[in-house]
Each structure stands twice: as structure tokens, then as C-alpha cells.
């Protein structure tokens, strides 16, 4: 579904990704772990198409299409969702308005009819219920005055409503207490666990992976994938630390 080959990228002339190769198949939940500064967030931003992240080599194909050739909103319409480590505040714009416009913009790009206000609210209610987020929160402005945990849960509601085929979740577990972590993890399972979807979970810690069991785990270090294994690799990392595992690799 997603095929990254020999990808290199830089920010402000500084090379961050360095020949990264990774393939994620349909139905797969793939965890990316790695030390600080390894390039995890850069990978997420490059996949999302963030301006300023310059691809200097390699290719990314998504459902057979050249992902790097698409604008960020085209990638979204093609089914790519990026869960932000630091969700952004948009004052004066309610979550309902934001998501309805975003969803309808995606639908327009795909040649579908826009959802009416009523249809959208029904959908939003259903997804919010799934993540134990009350509708009042959706009426509030996008991430404005949200706690860290609320922001992450709101990201998951966005994901539920936009219903992507591929999610890149960048440290979605950071800043969550145990209860919120469970809610978010179960949300990921409910939304993304499907034979025709896939997800890339970028995380520092094992704890999210206890709720969302990854099919495979890769270690990202110095801008490339240095080791890939099964779920047990995450446990090994947690017990032995990056240095030991990478030395062994």
C-alpha cells in the first residue's frame, strides 16, 4: 500500500532522512520506533507533504501513485491522514465547521457529493461516541483551549470522520494518561484495523503498542530503517534500550 524507497530529505539544508526504505502492506499496523532525532517526525511530515521538507532522493508510492508528486490536500483526498504530535489551534473555527469543510473538500476532489449539515452531524456524533468525546467538544474551536489529552483525542475523532485508508500517527501517545491512552488506542483499532487499511504508528514507547498490537515494528535511526521485526521487537527495545538492540543489528 505504501512503498518508500531509498528516501532522502533535508530541512534547511540539513540532511535528516538518509536512504529510508520501508513497505507497509494493506491490513498492516506498522510501528516505527527510534531515538530522539532519528527522523521520525520528519518522515511523517515528508509523507504529509509539509512545505520546507525537501526531498532530495528516492520515491514514495501510495496505492500505486507517486505520493511525492501530490499537494498536501491531494494526499489527504487520496486517503492519507497525518495525526499530529502537536495539533494546531485555529481560533474562531469550530471542529464541526473545520471537519465538514475538510471532508467535503476531500469528497469534491474524489468526485463525490458533499455531505449536508445533517448528514455530517450524524457522522460526527457516531465517531465522537466511539472515542468517548462529547459533541460539545466538537462545537468548540479547533484545539483552542484543549488539554494535551483532549487534543490527541480530537485528532482521533478527526481521523474517524475523515476515514482515511492510511494513517501516519506521529507520537499520538505522548502526553496521554493511562486512561486516555486506552481510549486513543482503542480508537485506532476501531478506525484503522481493517483489511484494506494500514497505519504507521510513530512512537517512543511500548505502552501504546500494548493496546494497538503492531504487526511489524521497525527501528528508525540516523535517517534510515535499521531493523524490522515482529511485535516482540518493541518489547525487546523497551527492556534492553535502543543502543543494545541496534548494536545487535
Amino acid at each position: 500500500m505504501l512503498k518508500i524507497e531509498n528516501l532522502s530529505a533535508e530541512i534547511d539544508g540539513k540532511q535528516i532522512l538518509n536512504g529510508l526504505t520501508l513497505e507497509v502492506a494493506k491490513g498492516e499496523v506498522h510501528a516505527i520506533m527510534g531515538p530522539n532525532g532519528a527522523g521520525k517526525s520528519t518522515l511523517a511530515y515528508v509523507l504529509g507533504g509539509r512545505p520546507g521538507y525537501e526531498v532530495t532522493g528516492g520515491s514514495v508510492s501510495f496505492d500505486g501513485k507517486d505520493l511525492l508528486d501530490m499537494e498536501p490536500h491531494e494526499r489527504a483526498a487520496a486517503g492519507l491522514f497525518l495525526g499530529f504530535q502537536y495539533p494546531v489551534e485555529i481560533p474562531g473555527v469550530s471542529n464541526v465547521q473545520f471537519l465538514r469543510e475538510a471532508l467535503n473538500s476531500q469528497r469534491k476532489q474524489r468526485g463525490d457529493e458533499p455531505l449536508t449539515g445533517g448528514e455530517f452531524l450524524k457522522l460526527a456524533k457516531e465517531k465522537a461516541g466511539l472515542l468517548k468525546l462529547d459533541m460539545d467538544m466538537l462545537k468548540r474551536n479547533v484545539n483552542v483551549g484543549f488539554s494535551g489529552g483532549e487534543k490527541k483525542r480530537a485528532e482521533m475523532v478527526q481521523m474517524g470522520i475523515l476515514d482515511p485508508s492510511f494513517a501516519v500517527l506521529d507520537e499520538t501517545d505522548s502526553g496521554l494518561d493511562i486512561d486516555a491512552l486506552r481510549v486513543v488506542g482503542e480508537g485506532i483499532n476501531a478506525i484503522m484495523r481493517s483489511p484494506d487499511k494500514a497505519a504507521l504508528l510513530i512512537t517512543h514507547y511500548q505502552r501504546l503498542l500494548e493496546v494497538v498490537k503492531p504487526d511489524r515494528v521497525s527501528i528508525l535511526a540516523q535517517g534510515r530503517i535499521v531493523k524490522t521485526g515482529g511485535a516482540e521487537l518493541a518489547e525487546q527495545l523497551e527492556n534492553e534500550g535502543y543502543d543494545a538492540v541496534m548494536e545487535a543489528a
Partner: protein, 493 residues
């Protein structure tokens, strides 16, 4: 759905009423004759004669003209423009340089694109663009029969509301006009207002009798021969005791005008317990992306909140004009009277806006609210200039001012110039100001969710301006949102 239909009905009624007025109004004779360039007493006499004005009106104009000759153009605003040669301008119905369009196909594609984007129906587009015979088309397209127009006029008449062009009002209701004209904005108020007194071309007169709630929003939206009346417009609205009126001025469609100089005057009077809501969307031609051309818009708008508990709300969305000089104000004489000013001003490319308000608190317990949202992009400059004044014997006055500036790009300017003069120690005055930039984070976040760059920008800007936009009547609000987005086209990326 019902809401939609209601609005259409209302618009239709308004259009019908205006159309009916035009049929016997001034529009037919205006097209053929005009005053030569330049401004002398003869020009003033010519204008007055063209309008069959009574002697007192001519005298009033001439007095203003003499005052004006000794006045100087103000230069305190943060605006820069070439010196205006007042003798090299038209003051009455400048001759049309272009022939009427045969069809919309002849319309400048750029303007056509904006019309489409705003969602203006074809019939109205023809009227706006000045297509031959279009007024009839538009009217026919909107109504089935003249009876709609008649019933609308009758509805207003039954309520006792007077809604006329000011020229007609001068002829038909001279006592009413004489009583209030120049009472809110005195003849010698300022250079531009005085000029307007001498040469005003036309405008609107509204009178709401005691205890009457005007049964519909009064709109100049359909007064589309604005090419002729827009230059020196004069509006007078009087709301008697306990009455209410909501008045909409302007149009979201881009308005071109051969006349570069505009100087309008709007006077509002609210008596005891009366309320006037005055909403403006201004989208005169702003000039091109290199700052060439564009309207100079020098407007004096002021409301007299004369009676106790009277209330006036100014709401404006200013996106057009190369130069905007405009301070809709409230003189709060009545006890517990209320003044409100809600403003969104957008400047892009080389546009300059110096706009704000004056809240003059003379009445005890008077209150005012000011919310100003300035959006600057390109190489433009956007200034909020506002005065809050509290008289010594005005006890219990409250004011809250919020000035927010949003910058797009790094070549534009936002400025806030608040003046606060408080002579009563009990007054509560709050002033908040913020300046922010549209962040790359916000744009990318929105785009990652599916919005293209333009949509993302529109969403963020409309969120910023929401507190003001929500004060607009519904039919204006939707178009105003689209307008903000269009005005900022090309300002990112």
C-alpha cells in the same frame, strides 16, 4: 431550506421596491447629462437644478461650498496617495467611457470569475455589469409580476416607513430632511464631508416613525446604478422613539467606477429606545496588484444616539478601495445609550486602510463595544484608529475595545492607534490589542485535512473575523465570507 426561501423572498421584495422607485426616479435622466470637470459655484447650481431642488437646498449646498474652499485636506491618517486635483474631477455623473455591454460575454473575464465565485445569479450579474436592458431582465427574473413590488411598497407604507432616494425626500418631505440634514455631521465637519454637502449626487432617506419596527431589512444591494450614485452618496436615517430598522449598504460584487474620488456622508439619528443596525460591505475597485488605479474612499459616518436607551450598531466589511478613510462613530448623548462598532478591514497588494471609530460618551450610563479585525496582506497597510471619549458628567460609562490584526506575509503593515480621553474617573475602559500571523502550521494542518491552500486560508481568516461576521445579517454574512477569501487571493505561496 425555508430560510433560503425567506431570504430570496425578502431580496425579491427589496429589489422590487427599488425597481419600482427607479421607474419614476432619477435614473433615467441621469444617464444623458453630466457636469463638466471641475468644481465651482456653477457646478453646485447645476447639480441642484438637475434635481429640481428647492431654494433652501441650493443655499445649503452653496454655504458648504464656500466653507469648503477655505478648508484643507486632512493629512493625519497613515495614508499616502498622490495629491488630488479637485478641479480635474467630475462631480456629477461622469460620462461613461465604455458603451453598455451587449451581453455578459463582453464582461472582463476577471470580474466574471469573481461574480461566479460569489455565486451571484446570472440575472443579477447582468445588472451589475451594466448589460443593455438588464435591469428589466433582472427584475423579471426575480418576480412574477409588478404586484409583488406593489405589495412591498404598500407594506412599508402601511407601517409608515419612508424609504426614498434623498433627492425625492428633499422634494417630498422637506421639513423632515431640513430638520436633520447636517445635524449629525455638521456642514463644516471635515474637508470631505463638506465637499459632500456641496455636491452630493444622491443617496437614501429613511424615516421610521415612533414605535414602528421596520418590517424588512432595507437594502441598497439592488440599487445598482451605483456607478452614478456611489461617488458622493448622502444617507440620512431617522429612527423615532421606540422604532427599529436594519439597513444594508453596499454589495459584495466588485464595483468599478470611472470616478476615483468618493466622499460619502451617512447620518443616523436614534431617538429614545430606538435602534438602528447599519451594515456595510464595501468592495470598490482596489487597484491592480501593482497599486495602479483604485478608488479613494473618504467616508464620514456618524450616528447620534440622542434618546435614552437608544442603540446604534455599525458593522462593516471593508475589502475594496485603494485608500480607505472611514470612522463610523456614535455620539452617545442619551442616558444608557449603546454604540457598537464591528469591523473587518482587509488590505492586499498596495491597498491602504485607515479606519476605526469614535465613541463619544456624553450620556450617563452609556456603553460602547468596539471589535476591529484588520487583515493585511501583500504590501498593504492597515491602521485601526479609534477614539473613546468620556465627558466629565457622564457617570457609569463603559467601553470595551478589542483590536486584532492578522498579518499574511512579511511585507505588510498593521497599526493600532487608540485615543482614550476620559474626563470622568468612574468610567470603565478596556482596550485589548493583538497582532498575529497566519502560521505555516495552521495552513499545513488544514491542508493535511483536505483543504487546498486557498480554502485553508479562507477558513483561517474567516475564523479570525468571526466575531464581526456574525453581526452581519445572514444574507450578507455568507457572501462576506467568500469575499474575504477572494480579496486575499494570491497572498500566499
Amino acid at each position: 431550506m425555508n430560510e433560503q426561501v425567506d431570504i430570496q423572498d425578502r431580496e425579491a421584495r427589496e429589489a422590487a421596491a427599488k425597481a419600482a422607485e427607479y421607474e419614476h426616479g432619477w435614473s433615467s435622466d441621469i444617464e444623458t447629462e453630466f457636469a463638466e470637470k471641475g468644481l465651482t459655484e456653477d457646478t453646485v447650481r447645476f447639480i441642484s437644478a438637475k434635481k429640481n431642488e428647492p431654494q433652501w437646498m441650493l443655499d445649503w449646498r452653496l454655504k458648504a461650498f464656500r466653507l469648503w474652499q477655505d478648508m484643507e485636506e486632512p493629512d493625519w491618517a497613515k495614508l499616502g496617495y498622490p495629491e488630488i486635483d479637485y478641479q480635474n474631477a467630475y462631480y456629477y455623473a461622469a460620462p461613461k467611457k465604455k458603451a453598455e455591454l451587449e451581453s455578459l460575454d463582453e464582461l472582463d473575464p476577471e470580474i466574471k470569475r469573481v461574480y461566479d465565485k460569489l455565486g451571484i445569479p446570472l440575472g443579477e450579474q447582468e445588472v451589475l455589469a451594466g448589460v443593455k436592458g438588464a435591469r428589466k431582465v433582472a427584475v423579471d427574473a426575480v418576480f412574477d409580476s409588478v404586484s409583488v413590488a406593489t405589495s412591498f411598497r404598500e407594506e412599508l407604507k402601511r407601517a409608515g416607513v419612508i424609504f426614498l432616494s434623498i433627492s425625492e425626500a428633499i422634494r417630498e418631505y422637506p421639513e423632515l430632511v431640513k430638520k436633520w440634514l447636517g445635524k449629525v455631521v455638521p456642514q463644516k465637519d471635515n474637508f470631505f464631508a463638506t465637499l459632500n454637502c456641496a455636491v452630493f449626487s444622491d443617496g437614501t432617506f429613511v424615516y421610521i416613525p415612533e414605535g414602528v419596527r421596520c418590517p424588512m431589512e432595507l437594502s441598497t444591494y439592488f440599487r445598482i446604478n451605483a456607478e452614478n450614485t456611489g461617488q458622493f452618496e448622502r444617507t440620512l436615517i431617522v429612527a423615532e422613539k421606540g422604532s427599529y430598522v436594519s439597513y444594508l449598504e453596499g454589495c459584495t460584487a466588485p464595483m468599478r467606477d470611472e470616478n476615483q474620488l468618493h466622499a460619502a456622508v451617512v447620518e443616523l439619528v436614534a431617538m429614545e429606545d430606538a435602534e438602528i443596525k447599519y451594515s456595510t460591505v464595501q468592495n470598490w475597485y482596489p487597484g491592480d496588484e501593482n497599486g495602479k488605479g483604485g478608488i479613494y474612499n473618504f467616508v464620514t459616518k456618524r450616528a447620534l444616539c440622542q434618546g435614552a436607551r437608544s442603540k446604534v450598531s455599525w458593522t462593516q466589511v471593508e475589502t475594496g478601495s485603494a485608500v480607505t478613510w472611514k470612522y463610523p462613530s456614535c455620539v452617545l448623548n442619551g442616558e444608557d445609550s449603546v454604540g457598537e462598532f464591528y469591523s473587518v478591514a482587509v488590505t492586499n497588494n498596495y491597498q491602504q486602510a485607515d479606519t476605526g471609530t469614535k465613541m463619544i460618551h456624553n450620556g450617563k450610563g452609556s456603553r460602547s463595544t468596539i471589535i476591529s479585525k484588520g487583515i493585511s496582506a501583500g504590501k498593504s497597510n492597515n491602521t485601526y484608529r479609534g477614539l473613546v471619549r468620556v465627558a466629565a458628567n457622564a457617570d457609569g460609562v463603559r467601553n470595551r475595545t478589542e483590536c486584532d490584526s492578522l498579518l499574511i506575509g512579511d511585507a505588510c503593515g498593521a497599526h493600532t492607534v487608540p485615543y482614550i480621553e476620559v474626563k470622568n474617573p468612574g468610567a470603565q475602559i478596556e482596550h485589548e490589542a493583538t497582532t498575529s500571523k497566519i502560521s505555516d502550521d495552521q495552513l499545513f494542518y488544514s491542508m493535511q485535512r483536505g483543504l487546498d491552500e486557498e480554502e485553508a486560508m479562507a477558513l483561517i481568516v474567516n475564523g479570525f473575523a468571526k466575531d464581526v461576521l456574525k453581526e452581519l445579517p445572514m444574507e450578507f454574512a455568507v457572501e462576506a465570507q467568500k469575499l474575504l477569501a477572494i480579496s486575499l487571493e494570491g497572498s500566499v505561496g
